[in-house]
Every structure is written in C-alpha cells, then in structure tokens.
C-alpha cells in the first residue's frame, strides 16, 4: 500500500507554519524548513503557549530548531481536535516576532581546537574553505545562541555560524566522540553531552558537563542562552577539568 503522506493541514500564503504528524501520537508545528532566527523564536514561544494552555490529553511538549512538538494520547484527544486547538492558537498572534525566553545567560566555555583531542578540525576547515587558523578565529569569534536542546540530555544546538560553515554532515558516522566534544555542520555547532556516534565533525573539546543528573539543576543550558567557545590549550583544559563540572566556563545574565 502506498502511504498517505503526513500532509500539512494548516498553512498561510507562504506555506508556513504547517502541522505534520509524528508517529501515532504526536503533532509537529513547523515555522520553516530552514533555520531562521524568527522561526526559532516562534517555535520556542509556541511551545511555552501550548504548555500554558494545558489541554487535556497533551502529555509533553518540546521544541526542535524551528518546530514545536506536542505528544498526546490519541485515545484521550483526537488528532483533529488537537489540530483545531493548535490552529486557533497559531491564528492568535504573530509568532515570528515573539520575545526570546526570559532569564537568558551568556556562557564562555574554554575550548581546545584541533590537536588529538579534536581530530577533525583540519578536515572541517578544508570543507569550509579555510585554514585551521581561520577556522578557529571564525568559530571562537562568533557568539552563538542555543537554538534548541535535543538529541541527548542537556545537549545544545547552537548558531548561526558564517555561511562558509554550511557543510553537510558526514555520510559515515564517527564511531564515538567524547562528552564535551564541539562539533560542526550546516552552520551550527553541537556540544555533546554524552559520548556517542555522530555524523558531525569533531573540531573542539571542552570539559563542560551539560547534564548533571545528581545536581539540583540537572540541565545547565537553556534555549536562548548565548555561548562563546574561547580557545584554550590542552594543558589548561586538563587543569580546568579537575576544577569541577563547569570545566572553566563562566556565565552572566544577559540584560
């Protein structure tokens, strides 16, 4: 049997936002098919609004880069009823101009670029058409924003990088990057919270623990936070690693 595609059900003249199904028990409201700052804001704001609505049958919400995800019990609320709720909410305001989340912070995280700690710097720089030195200057000189937390606990997707960094993921997975690995693809950085296989290229290494299950604040970064990955040496990083889970990172409130 040919599947019925998960068809968009709500679009304005530009085709966005639209609602698609996720498996049997989820709906996804997407504000674009590429990452833009307004679409990212819209997703974060819509998720907060859905949680505030507290609709029966809705179990959990999250965001990806440009989408808000709603997981629900399809035996408790039908797909069509939930879509109607969402449509009304979408029509109620201009989501693309929504405010960023409250209480944002600026983090400065010491990072070793390249060396045997981060063996794919050279390859990634080449893909971006830069020397290693240019690549380090470009990444460490960009203040990036946490666009979403996902994949693994507390793990941020950050952006947006210079257009030169619009490089694809690898076709074959790297067997394993360590916790704290800084990786790059498609104008974004991902800082890994766990050791895992990945298609992203490993260009830097930090000693920052993103997920601290035993702590009062198990998840450290929040969407909207901003980060600078400041260059350091392997020797200094080794010392900062001993100092605790922040690995030498500092933070301040963004006002």
């Amino acid at each position: 049997m040919t599947p019925h595609p998960a068809t968009p059900t709500h679009q304005d003249a530009t085709g966005w936002p639209h609602i698609r199904t996720v498996g049997v028990d989820g709906l996804l409201v997407s504000f674009g098919d590429r990452l833009t700052e307004p679409a990212n804001r819209a997703a974060l704001a819509l998720r907060a609004a859905i949680e505030a609505e507290g609709w029966d049958g809705v179990e959990e919400c999250s965001t990806s880069l440009v989408s808000a995800y709603v997981m629900f019990d399809p035996l408790g609320i039908s797909h069509s009823d939930l879509q109607t709720h969402l449509r009304h909410l979408l029509d109620s305001r201009d989501w693309y101009n929504a405010d960023l989340p409250q209480g944002r912070r600026l983090w400065r995280i010491p990072t070793v670029y390249g060396t045997d700690l981060a063996p794919q710097l050279s390859e990634a720089a080449q893909a971006a058409g830069m020397s290693e030195a240019e690549a380090i200057a470009s990444i460490s000189g960009t203040r990036v924003r946490v666009q979403t937390i996902g994949f693994a606990p507390g793990q941020p997707y950050l952006g947006e990088l210079d257009a030169a960094w619009d490089i694809p993921r690898q076709k074959t997975l790297t067997d394993r990057v360590p916790e704290g690995a800084l990786t790059v693809a498609i104008r974004q950085l991902v800082l890994f919270s766990v050791s895992t296989p990945t298609g992203w290229r490993h260009i830097g290494q930090t000693a920052f623990r993103l997920f601290r299950p035993e702590a009062d604040t198990p998840f450290v970064l929040r969407p909207g936070d901003e980060v600078e990955f400041q260059q350091t040496t392997p020797e200094k990083l080794a010392v900062m690693r001993q100092d605790g889970p922040d690995g030498g990172a500092t933070s301040e409130k963004i006002t």
Partner: protein, 345 residues
Amino acid sequence: MTRALIVHRAGPGVTLQDQGRPGYLGFGLSRGGAADRLALAEGAALLGQGDDLAVIEMAGLGGEFEAGSDMRIALTGAPMRASIAGTRIAWNASHALPQGARLSIGGAEQGSYGYLHIGGGVDVAAQLGARGAHLAAGVGHAVRAGDDLPLGEDPKPGEVGQGITPLARFDGGTVRVVPSLQTDFFGPDQIAGFEATDFHRDTRGSRMGVRLIAEAADPLHSDAGLSVLSEVVVPGDIQITGDGTPFVLLSECQTTGGYPRICSVLPCDLPIVAQAQPGATLRFAFVALQDAVEAERRAAAHRAGLRDGLWPLVRDPHDIADLLSYQLIGGVTAGTELDQEKAQT
C-alpha cells in the same frame, strides 16, 4: 528486616527498568523505560500489582539471584531458561521464591529482552522521577553481582502459580508503520521497495535502536535528507543513515536527529522489533493513521484485560515430577508442561 533480592551474577545487559521518565523531552532526555512495555503489563498482571513498578530487564542473558526473604516473582518477555534450586520453572508465569532459594536465569531461547518481576517491585531511589536506568543518558547503572536490590511492599503475598499467554512477538514478523513527518523525502518507488523487503535484525542493536540488514535490496537514500535540519525523533521512527542502513529507534533513542525517517512503527508493534533476535526477519506494512489509532485502542484494551486471562499452572499430580518440590515451591512444573505451554503460545 529489609526485603531484598541478592544478585550473585548478572549478564552485561541487565538493568532496572520501568515506564521511563516522561517530562524531559524538552531537555533532550528521552523517556526511556522497558524495551518491551507489554512485558511490564504482563508481569504486573501475573503479580496483581501496578505496571509502574521497577523490574529487572535482561538483554539476552539473565543471571543468578537469591531471595533475601520470601518473595514472589514473575517472568515475562523473551523466554529464558530459568530454574529455582535447580528445578526448571515455567516462563510467562508467577512463582514463589522462598528465602534463601536461588533463581538462575540463562540465555534467551527466543527474543531479546526477558523480564524478572518481583512482588512489590524493586524500590531503589528514583532519579528524575523514575527508577529505571537510562544508560545512554548516564542515568542509573547496570545491575551487577553484589547488588542487594531493595523491594517494595508486596500487595498480594502468596498469590503465585499463575500463567499468562503472551502475544507472539519473539521471532520477528510484520510490523505496522505509519507515514511520519519525513516520509515524503522518499519517493514512491523507495516506499514500495521498503515494504517489499525482508529485513533481518543485525547483531548490532541496543536499547537505543536496532540496525536492519536488507538482502540484495537497493539501498534507501534521500538526497534531501542529508542536509535537512535536525528534527524531533520518537521511539519507533525508522531512520535511514547516509549509507542507506535503516535503524528502528527504541525507548532510549535520541530526542532529535538529522537523519531522515521513512516511517514510524506503531507503539503497540514496537515490542516485535525490540524482541526480534539477531537474524530474525522483519517486514514493514504502512497503515493509515486512523487504523493505527484503532490498533492502539485494541492494544490498550488487551493490556487492561490481561489479569482476566491468567490461568493456573498445571496442578495434576501425575504431571508433577517432584511433588515435594512442587509443594515447597508453588508453581514449579516439569519439562513436559513447558512443552505444552509452548504449543499453546
């Protein structure tokens, strides 16, 4: 005295599991929980207790356990070779485990994940709202030799000797899927080829997901998929990596991902994938969303009715090899009855 189950030996994939940790998707922590949720419901029915208690999940291989005090156990999921004090006991059944008795659980004879349930559940401290291990996230740890697992209060001490007929799910088969948000990244020919292919579960697999191998099929690919934005991922999604290999994601999967997903397995059929042993054949069949919701409704009704479907283990003395041990340890059966049970299931 603290009630405890003493662990003398444990296979490498033995962990505590429960219904997982809802509420943390937005922080990148997937719900996790038992690979085969139906096995939780079956064990809960056998012991007459809630299905929210922590149980021992055994990937491929069990272990050796000792009762610190009199307790009840139930065994569900992938059938494994099990004995109490050297006498073989039935799987998919509840049994008494008297204080000091040794319970030995060997390798899976079929399927991948076996479950050991204990009356009152395993009562370790909850972390982020649940007791189960989420090893991919670094929450909790594997069950190891030397552990004393504390137990909760047993709601129905003494109620043992019940059997349950499990839904067939231990040898692969056809799995229902629905289109999902990225299905249209794949052309109609690829979808048709995907549905027509016999896949085999690879030896590489974990609670995060299982890898599938296709014989002589054109590799699946999506040009759009390689540079698409990372998007929400849920258990059951079938992800196609850059070299065309499908992975079916399970309870401990990531929460977002960049590889395109061709479809998503119905939650009620996911145990078939989780339980398929290496080499087992899996096929996938698309169903409409409304049919999938109906299937979930029927599955929920099935789980709710499990307690009514219990049957007493065979009690005819002629069938019992060792009447004395039967009386001491209710629910112990002879080997021939095991064969009869298999014929039923």
